[in-house]
């Protein structure tokens, strides 16, 4: 009997550790034709801000070796539109609904959390202090312990359900930022968001992206993400949610062995819209073959 359920903090239990990463899965609906969304451990909807945002100009994406750079810049219709028009459509999907929250200054983050708190079927918020594609806020909060603590502490007062803080890998020591988030009241941390990167079109002698730099995601970054998850899992006591370049079930197991309690699959959904379900099935078989009954038994051997 394999039990894949896992508690990711703040009393939230997922039916399995596979979630979808914010900004790569829309609101879940976009993938309803391909998979049974209720099989997912959770869906983290795209970054939501207090006011509507048009995001950055096109072009926003360029393919790189085993990865891609994006510069979407948090395009979304704002939290009011979300709760009025999108939430009603997706709130009954039988999975943990998590809203990724972004903003320029602290009051923006708090405002979104307050607005969301009336809606019971939102299981958790993921506080995004790591978006590399906005001029104000975003990643700038996540690169210092003070910034991470300030946003986390303020959101904690405005949100009493599970609060995940999403960390940026673009730092010297991610464990310090993770500890700051934990000490400021985070129930869990998720990492890694994208790496700040750049690619240049040598024929046109111009950057590919309208914003010059963008966020690198995809299999390319997985070894760095696994290392950071492994470091943070030893540095904090709250659950760690791992992401960064997961392409299949094997990669999910790699992150769980590194110390993650749950994972998020992002870019891989673009390549295989059914990757999440295949990963859940792989994890179940992997556990069963080894007679592992719960995820707490899935640890490194020494």
């Amino acid at each position: 009997m394999v039990d894949l359920s896992v508690n990711i903090g703040g009393g939230l239990t997922l039916k399995n550790p596979i979630m979808t990463a914010s900004g790569t899965y829309g609101y879940g609906e976009e993938f309803a034709d391909f998979i049974d969304l209720s099989r997912l451990g959770g869906i983290i909807v795209k970054g939501t801000t207090l006011q509507p945002r048009q995001g950055n100009p096109y072009p926003r994406m360029v393919e790189t070796p085993s990865g891609m750079l994006n510069a979407v810049g948090l395009q979304n219709k704002g939290v009011d539109y979300f709760v009025k028009h999108i939430y009603p459509r997706i709130c009954d999907i039988d999975t943990a609904l998590v809203v990724n929250v972004s903003g320029a200054d602290v009051s923006d983050y708090v405002g979104v959390c307050e607005r969301l708190s009336d809606f019971d079927k939102i299981a958790a918020v993921e506080i995004n202090i790591s978006c590399p594609n906005v001029k104000q806020g975003g990643m700038s909060w996540g690169t210092t312990t003070a910034g991470a603590a300030a946003v986390t502490e303020a959101c904690r007062k405005a949100w009493n359900r599970t609060m995940i803080v999403k960390l940026t890998p673009n730092v010297t020591d991610v464990t310090q930022i993770a500890r700051a988030a934990q000490d400021a009241g985070a129930d869990a941390v998720s990492l890694v968001n994208t790496f700040l990167g750049m690619a240049i079109d040598v024929e046109r002698r111009r950057p590919y992206l309208s914003t010059i730099t963008g966020g690198l995601s995809g299999a390319a970054i997985r070894p760095i993400a696994v290392r950071m998850v492994w470091q943070v899992a030893q540095a904090v006591t709250i659950p760690v949610i791992g992401l960064g370049g997961i392409m299949n079930g094997r990669d999910v197991v790699e992150f769980l062995l590194a110390g993650a309690k749950a994972v998020q699959i992002g870019t891989a959904n673009f390549i295989d819209p059914q990757v999440t379900i295949k990963a859940i099935d792989y994890l179940h078989d992997y556990m069963a073959r080894r007679s592992l009954n719960t995820l707490s038994e899935l640890t490194m051997l020494s």
Partner: protein
């Protein structure tokens, strides 16, 4: 309904030096209904340097087969063109919203280079809807005027080549037939051509649709990478609200 499907490469033809035509047969699943102008996200199974799928316009589809007309534009599309009969190919389809198929009056379907791909299916659908169509096909040179025979079978077909090796000598947008009256134009081609056609259509207030090919990642409206700035809604996904847009939504 969108789905992920495995296909056999039944036939792989090299066209005009720079293009490939892949004729695919579904292996297990039934072919979904496909609208002219829709596209597929095509996995590139045989290229070390690509990571994402490639969005390819659907050239032809019926219950039993599906054609992809591919221009060799880079490592990924080269690899696709190099696929041989017997290879397997995974597609996500059908994606996007296509061309209007209920149109009245005199209709012109205008394609440049590989942009003629969706017009084959569109022409067939319009004829089935008892709508007469005129085709205007442009290319750099004669042997790059693709599938010309198939278009001629469907109706009046005009050709323009940059080097004058076939039909009108010059850009397709300078072809004399454009001086005639049309009520509706459907167009797909390189950006300069589409912008020029948009200008002509706006000036003569012709109802006109363009098929865009913005850089895409997911193809299903999830990542918001392929956006086009529209006059009514601002940035919208080309992969879901497009690839076909009425020019009155475009800020060109």
């Amino acid at each position: 309904m969108k789905q992920q499907m495995d296909f056999d490469v039944k036939d792989s033809l090299q066209l005009g030096g720079n293009y490939g035509l892949l004729k695919l047969r579904p292996i297990a699943q039934e072919m979904p209904l496909i609208e002219p102008g829709q596209f597929a996200q095509v996995e590139v199974p045989n290229c070390k340097t690509t990571y994402l799928r490639r969005p390819i316009s659907i050239n032809y589809a019926d219950k039993h087969e599906l054609w992809l007309l591919v221009r060799r534009a880079g490592a990924g599309t080269n690899a696709l063109c190099d696929l041989r009969a017997g290879a397997k190919l995974n597609l996500v389809l059908p994606l996007g919203s296509g061309f209007s198929t209920q149109v009245s009056g005199r209709v012109l379907l205008m394609g440049g280079g590989v942009g003629i791909a969706p017009l084959l299916m569109l022409g067939q659908r319009l004829l089935a809807n008892k709508t007469d169509v005129t085709f205007l096909l442009g290319a750099r040179t004669a042997n790059e005027v693709l599938q010309l025979d198939l278009f001629r079978q469907m109706g009046e077909t005009h050709v323009a080549t940059d080097d004058g090796t076939l039909g009108h000598h010059g850009l397709v947008t300078t072809h004399p037939v454009l001086a005639e009256h049309f009520d509706h134009v459907a167009c797909c081609g390189p950006m300069p051509m589409m912008r020029a056609v948009t200008a002509i259509a706006k000036e003569r207030s012709i109802n006109c649709e363009m098929s865009l090919e913005n850089t895409m990642a997911c193809g299903v409206g999830a990542c918001l990478c392929c956006v086009e700035d529209t006059s009514d809604e601002g940035n919208v996904c080309v992969c879901t609200q497009g690839p076909v847009f009425n020019i009155n939504r475009l800020k060109w």
